[in-house]
């Protein structure tokens, strides 16, 4: 099948989309446009190994350790890196880039993912960090050499992983979050609270149930002021307060961009032809959890959605029917927090009840299994320090639709 496919976004989702287009039989040209100058690389180590790495700050060296293997089938794919899509006309089938060029396409893959949200607080720019890209992580790496204290704002996975990494480097870290306990939204208060206590015992400080109202310092950050009036001093601040969807370049096409980009179960962007979306930005109904469209910000999703989206796009370009089986990927994510390894399947955040199936929440390192139910049905499970040999069974619990 010929025809030019343009992929916008050159991270995990964009890369896997190109590979899966080839696997689905697309042999026409593919162009991948990416705002970052780097070939697609793995983000999870940015808050983990990249901060801990003892070597120099050479960006090429660090990138080489993170870059994704690329299948030989995409050797002929053109990467336009360091270029950003700024506009699109999905009827005329064109995408405009920031250097003034316009790309015409027959098929389009939306893979622009997320960017880190920043807090709209006044104060000095120096000493304020986020972690989404390799360049962000490099900025933080060099800053941590010259500071003894840090505040991480946001007690979700990226925030707590970063805090754990900084703690390991000997920095005195305080995590601040307006929710009463860490990981409240993702894991619920039961397990979230247990992990928070585990990290506290190891020496990571938490100020939960309170938000940051302002930054102190004139030329560079010297600390934060909390809404109860107390201040915490810090040589740097990491804002780990969630993300925003990179959908601006799709504006003006009549799409639903209220949260990512809305697609059908086959990852077709609703309202236009020959456009699919993959990865963190795709808001699709997962047949596993009934009909509500949701975005899933887990590493496993770009690969799963790319496979389905590529099949859909190749079929649509050929005017052929798509596979009949509903798309029902099993979400999975992991996290490394000091001596804890979490592995989750399903969507714990959808649960209304959490049950400790085995182990003791006060001894997480010895192994704990928590399951999440919604209206009595299993929607997620989280294993903490359980042997990987058990994972298959934990995952297979989701082979049938759960609602």
């Amino acid at each position: 099948m010929a025809g030019h496919v343009v992929v916008v976004g050159a991270s995990l989702g964009g890369l896997r989309a190109a590979e899966q287009l080839r696997a689905a039989g697309h042999d026409g040209p593919i162009t991948i446009v990416g705002e970052e100058i780097h070939l697609p690389y793995n983000r999870p180590p940015l808050s983990k190994d990249v901060l801990a790495d003892a070597g120099d700050d050479d960006v090429e060296r660090l990138h080489a350790g993170l870059v994704f293997r690329r299948r030989a089938s995409i050797d002929d794919v053109e990467f336009l890196l360091g270029r950003r899509a700024v506009a699109s006309d999905l009827v005329a089938r064109t995408v405009s880039l920031d250097d003034g060029t316009t790309l015409a396409y027959d098929g389009l893959v939306v893979a622009t993912g997320l960017r880190a949200r920043r807090l709209p607080l006044p104060g000095p720019a120096a000493g304020r960090h986020v972690i989404r890209t390799l360049d962000d992580a490099l900025g933080l790496r060099s800053a941590i050499r010259t500071t003894a204290t840090a505040v991480v704002i946001g007690a979700g996975f990226v925030g707590c992983e970063t805090a754990a990494s900084l703690h390991r480097l000997g920095i005195r870290v305080t995590v601040v979050d307006p929710f009463p306990v860490a990981f409240e939204r993702a894991l619920g208060p039961l397990l979230g609270g247990a992990i928070q206590r585990h990290l506290e015992t190891a020496g990571v400080r938490f100020r939960t149930g309170t938000g940051v109202v302002s930054y102190t310092g004139s030329h560079a950050i010297s600390g934060v002021t909390l809404d109860d009036g107390t201040t915490v001093s810090a040589g740097l601040v990491v804002e780990a307060v969630g993300s925003a969807c990179n959908t601006e370049w799709l504006a003006g096409n009549g799409l639903d961009l209220s949260d990512g980009v809305l697609t059908d179960n086959d990852l077709r962007v609703l309202g236009v032809d020959r456009v699919v979306a993959v990865g963190d930005i795709a808001r699709f109904p997962n047949a596993l959890f009934g009909g509500d469209p949701r975005r899933v910000e887990h590493w496993s999703m770009p690969t799963d959605t790319a496979k389905r989206a590529a099949t859909t796009l190749v079929a649509d370009l050929a005017g052929a029917p798509v596979a009949a089986a509903p798309f029902a990927p099993i979400p999975s994510f992991w996290s490394d927090l000091l001596d804890l390894r979490l592995q989750a399947f399903g969507s714990p955040a959808l649960g209304d009840t959490a049950v400790v199936e085995s182990g003791d929440l006060d001894h997480l390192a010895d192994g704990v299994l928590v399951t999440y139910l919604r209206e009595g049905r299993l929607v997620g499970n989280v294993a903490v320090n359980l042997p990987p040999v058990r994972q298959r069974a934990l995952r297979d619990a989701f082979l049938l639709p759960v609602s």
């Binding site: 896997r16 793995n42 999870p44 180590p45 994704f68 293997r69 299948r71 590493w299 496993s300 690969t303 999975s332 992991w334 592995q343 042997p387 990987p388 040999v389 994972q391 298959r392 995952r395």
Partner: protein, 63 residues
Amino acid sequence: MKITVDLDKCQDHGQCAIAAPVAFRMNDEGNLEYETTVEDSYLDEVEEAADVCPVQAILIGQA
């Protein structure tokens, strides 16, 4: 095809063993064991295993 796992990188996530049990297995100690050569007919499964490895430790080569 030939399979190599960079054991310096591998963190025993076990995702490969779910994707391609024909080549990868987690032993009772929680560590990875794998076949260095498998039939080419398993390429799809093994490529999927390489895709889902969170630390991208799996390399596939020609036999």
